[in-house]
């Protein structure tokens, strides 16, 4: 019993660790895509932000300055995407892909030239990272059997985990309960109507991409200065695409997207646990099958076999004013 509880708690820990960057990136994608801008560039923005955070924290000696740099880089990349897609009506998928490839090259190139450690940044000591925050009552509650164990999961994460947890209700509020959110959703469904109402389609989409950049910056900073201790080559390893899958699996809505991220993160934790273990009745499940699960689920969803994912109607279509 006690073993199961410990195992469960360890799984929850692992799930939270993996889910945090996914949630931040998926919400970033949510803002862009609900505004009608396809964003497959999450991966590249996260990678760029991760490098900026680690490099700045190393040089300037503060994880917070690192975070700022990460946000600045991710927002700049979002704006490049915005100018290409909104100002020049470029192909949004091509633009996202360009950012991914550009960052996959640029981040290790800069790291190699500036830090001379084979494409990574120096290991960050704990004072230059986002460390677990110990909450009040810890010692008093720790003694109580179940409550203490549960409480120990709620506190003791780093600031960016809480930022991700806060970002979900905040996003839901902004999207569903504010004027900006209403307009944002409208511009992703029917930009002509928004334009006719005298509201700038381009302005709304740029603002959506600005928020997108901030969230991508947080996500990237989490990877290199909270979860990890420095930037390493290809450290996003497909997390941007996984976040995109979670966004689609969550049908472009904040809370379902969070649940999708948690599900995908849980499969990841499970996969690490199940390494070589045999399940009763089924036998050994290949680790790779569990790894592929999020992608298979997303394809099944897109195919309409498990529910139906309806993308914003105007997604991927540049808005041309004159008709």
């Amino acid at each position: 019993m006690a073993d199961t509880l410990v195992l469960l708690l360890l799984m929850i820990d692992a799930t939270v660790r993996v889910a945090t960057p996914l949630v931040l990136a998926a919400l970033a994608g949510l803002f862009a895509e609900r505004a009608g801008v396809v964003d497959i560039g999450l991966e590249g923005k996260m990678l760029g932000a991760a490098f900026a955070a680690a490099a700045t924290a190393t040089v300037l000696g503060s994880p917070w300055l690192g975070l700022l740099a990460a946000i600045a880089v991710a927002v700049s990349l979002s704006m490049v995407h915005g100018v290409a897609c909104i100002r020049y009506n470029g192909n949004q998928v091509v633009s996202g892909m360009a950012l991914n490839i550009l960052m996959a090259g640029l981040a290790p190139t800069l790291a190699y030239a500036w830090f001379a450690q084979g494409g990574q940044t120096p290991m960050l000591p704990s004072n230059l990272r986002f460390m677990p925050i110990v909450a009040p009552f810890h010692d008093t509650l720790a003694g109580i059997p179940v409550v203490g164990a549960l409480w120990s999961r709620v506190h003791g994460h780093n600031a960016l985990v809480y930022a991700a947890a806060l970002a979900v209700p905040l996003t839901a509020f902004v999207i569903y309960r504010t004027r900006f959110g209403l307009r944002l959703r409208a511009v992703g469904e029917n930009p002509q109507a928004v334009d006719t109402a005298g509201i700038s389609v381009a302005g709304l989409r740029y603002r959506a991409l600005l928020i997108n950049g901030v969230l991508c910056g947080l996500s990237g900073a989490y990877l290199s200065t909270a979860h990890g201790a420095g930037f390493v080559r290809d450290m996003t390893a497909g997390k941007g695409y996984l976040a995109l899958a979670a966004l689609i699996f969550g049908k472009w809505r904040p809370v379902p997207t969070l649940l999708a991220c948690l599900l995908f993160a849980f499969t990841d934790a499970l996969q690490a646990r199940l390494q070589g273990a045999a399940l009763p009745g089924i036998g050994q499940i290949p680790v790779q099958a569990i790894q592929a699960l999020p992608y298979v689920l997303t394809v099944l969803l897109l195919a309409g076999f498990v529910g139906r994912a309806m993308a914003p109607k105007a997604i991927g279509v540049p808005y041309v004013k004159e008709r």
Partner: protein, 370 residues
């Protein structure tokens, strides 16, 4: 193009000058990056050119890389002509290699090589086609967005291959997940070995007969797209689906077929890599060729001739980049990836930056047709 006839800029502006300007913009930005890193961009450029074309071995390597890029570039282009964005070249190439590898491992040595090699090539195309067929079918019949499904299929392919390599194909008593070597009769012959008996001495390089396959694929695709009824149907679907339906074409069927053909072309990367060079099944032999195919197709304006030229350029970049990192200690071979990203950015995403201005410039100067 929305322009009325007789008012257009000359074709060479659109087909040659514009890509050249976009390319130049990409190189200028890349040069700035190199300058910021404290190396001389002009010297880097000279090294790139020498490292890719300066001596026999380098040319061989350049052509060998270009072979892969022709396959993936054509794959992206054929899907593009049908109005589809196939980002799944990477996964399709991976599966293509699996198909080729299966045939080589199963029949190599037992059956004459002259029979096994064509079979393996067919298997590579078949496996690649199958991996693209599913997203194509889902797009045509179930409306699933092909960009997302092909991305997902890349990851599924990677998991599948890791499983197969680690659990099934791994050579007994070996740590790294590689299969046993293919029988020598199934290897694609190296170009330097074929030409040696004819008295033509070439430097040793991985360049193999797959190059011929790439040229055949390019010519074949041109004929198919511009000289057959089927190719016409494909292009109509890509240009205007409503018009296609009106003209009696079933878009769903064309979409699925175009994707299968796209996947088959991408699958041929497996032939060049595994039967041509590695001679065994292994992990990660696709090395991003599928993604770079997007850049190649964009740069080559989705035309086989353009794609072959763009593939040469990217092949030279790949080879020259490796050389660059030897001679400039502050640079790594990823500089080349930066240049690729910039080329996609300028040729694709920012196409609207120079294009309207340039076309307007030449339209004004062109004599008004009667």
């Amino acid at each position: 193009m929305a322009d009325s006839r007789g008012n257009e800029a000359p074709a060479w502006v659109d087909l040659a000058l514009l890509p050249a300007i976009n390319l130049a913009a990409a190189f200028v930005v890349a040069g700035l990056v190199i300058a910021i890193l404290g190396e001389n961009p002009f010297k880097a450029m000279a090294l790139l050119v020498y490292g890719s074309l300066g001596y026999g071995e380098a040319i061989g390597f350049t052509l060998y890389y270009a072979t892969n890029f022709v396959f993936t570039g054509l794959a992206v282009a054929v899907a593009f002509h049908a109005g589809l964005f196939n980002i799944g070249g990477e996964g399709q190439a991976y599966l293509g290699g699996l198909g080729a590898g299966l045939v080589c491992l199963a029949l190599g040595g037992a059956v004459p090589g002259l029979l096994v090699v064509p079979l393996a090539i067919l298997a590579a195309m078949l496996f690649g086609a199958a991996w693209a067929y599913v997203p194509g079918w889902l797009q045509a019949r179930r409306g699933s967005h092909i960009v997302i499904t092909t991305i997902m299929f890349n990851f599924i392919a990677a998991s599948l291959m890791t499983y197969l390599m680690v659990n099934i194909f791994i050579k007994p008593g070996q740590q790294s997940p590689e299969s046993r070597e293919f029988d020598a009769s199934t290897w694609m012959p190296f170009v330097h070995e074929i030409l040696a008996p004819l008295g033509i001495q070439l430097a040793k390089s991985p360049l193999n007969l797959s190059l011929l396959l790439a040229i055949l694929a390019a010519v074949g695709l041109w004929v198919l797209l511009w000289r057959t009824r089927w190719g016409y149907a494909l292009r109509v679907v890509g240009f205007n689906e409503t018009a296609a339906v009106y003209g009696g074409i079933a878009p769903a069927r064309v979409v699925v077929a175009a994707m299968a053909l796209s996947g088959a072309l991408a699958g041929l990367v497996g032939v060049n890599e595994l039967m041509g060079v590695q001679h065994r099944l292994m992990l990660n032999f696709t090395g991003g060729y599928g993604y770079v195919g997007i850049a190649v197709a964009l740069m080559g304006r989705n035309h086989p001739v353009g794609i072959c030229l763009a593939a040469l350029l990217f092949g030279a970049l790949y080879q020259g980049g490796a050389e660059l990192s030897f001679d400039m200690p502050r640079l790594t071979k990823e500089v080349v990836v930066v240049i690729q990203g910039l080329i996609i950015l300028f040729c694709g995403a920012f196409e609207g930056l120079f294009r309207p201005r340039l076309l307007a410039l030449f339209r004004r100067r062109a004599p008004v047709a009667a």
